[in-house]
Symmetry: C2
Subunit: 248 residues, 2 copies
Amino acid sequence: MTHRIFITIEYDGGPFVGWQRQDNGISVQQVLEAAACTLTGGDCPIQGAGRTDSGVHATGQVAHLDVPDRFDAARVMAALNALTAEHPVTVRSAHEVPAEAHARFSATGRRYLYRILPRLAPPALDLGRVWHHRAALAVPPMQLAAEQLVGRHDFTSFRASQCQADSPLRTLDELRVETIGEEVHVHAAARSFLHHQVRNIVGTLALVGTGKWTPDDVAAALRARDRSAADPTAPPEGLYLTKVTYPF
Amino acid sequence: MTHRIFITIEYDGGPFVGWQRQDNGISVQQVLEAAACTLTGGDCPIQGAGRTDSGVHATGQVAHLDVPDRFDAARVMAALNALTAEHPVTVRSAHEVPAEAHARFSATGRRYLYRILPRLAPPALDLGRVWHHRAALAVPPMQLAAEQLVGRHDFTSFRASQCQADSPLRTLDELRVETIGEEVHVHAAARSFLHHQVRNIVGTLALVGTGKWTPDDVAAALRARDRSAADPTAPPEGLYLTKVTYPF
């Protein structure tokens, strides 16, 4: 008999092609599945709550796997951490869930953090962990612009052309911009996001931060329902999947 | 004619043998001196405010160098950053100072941050940037213990045996322990520190955090004036030189 375990995962997205298995390089999912296979001695698929792109990090990705009953959650966590030690992937916590719990389909909310380092000097300590933005950013207008995007909208203007979602409608529950030390952080929360939605939004907010756009321009871009109306995509290295929430 | 420039430097200590030039590997000083030499076309020694050990990081190391008058501070910063781009070293700022200003001897204060990650799961994103401490730490008793060490004391118990300072007397102006997210941060400020003083103090505070020692035990260790009375040295990867202050 098997039981289902939820694991919460932290990873440095830098060396990976992303969460999802791909033909063109190593993925986080593949590293974890290989470890689970070694632990259980059989095939052990791992389902993540959401895909993250190449270079995107996570501090709170969630995934599920089914393992023989004799492996409790603490043992699964310890074994996966021992078996993935050479990769920048770590299982932060693990717990047993009902058999019908699904990391992706049961999720009721996702949170992302986007870190921007607005300064002339390149990052030495946080290279690959922040968007190095050489120009200064004014946070108050960025926050005003962010408020235009909160709520239920057609986010076509902030959606990647290759997005496979059925609908461009999403409800952004939170979009908040704050200064943390010398960084600017953007916090985003929604039930689910479109492909590149956070990075496209951050790219546009940065345009407001440098004064090239006004908050009203962002509202107009949203109304345009046209990807070309908004700004380029912010780079992956500033983005972190920080939390996935479940009703149980 | 030359003029003197102060530079504020950030670096990842991981790949270096430390700040100071050594025979056994590459140092931060050496990387910066090589760049300065390329810029000026001559020998260009760089004097740091303080040595940092191998693996110790900096967000606010300060150093001085003398360059021909035609290189202003902004140009020195841009050139050093361009010429050190392949190393995790960055000049955050640069400004001209009087010819008698000395990065080491004019300094009136130094600040360090020590980052501890107390959790079972190893760090994926902050590997080499924090002390991974597998046991939980109670911060209130650590803070009580820290208060025993503030002020002017003979710090022989917290001084490396190879320390070359003339006196073990130092005045610790601040020693503060706080929880930041899932990390424990220790902030230390003094005019100057003994060799390994911060790391030895943090090693002992961690013993208090796990309940093995009481704050009174720390006061007794200080009074003992004996290195063997205190706890092992915390590892270098959690330590950051964050600020050096000057009267000008």
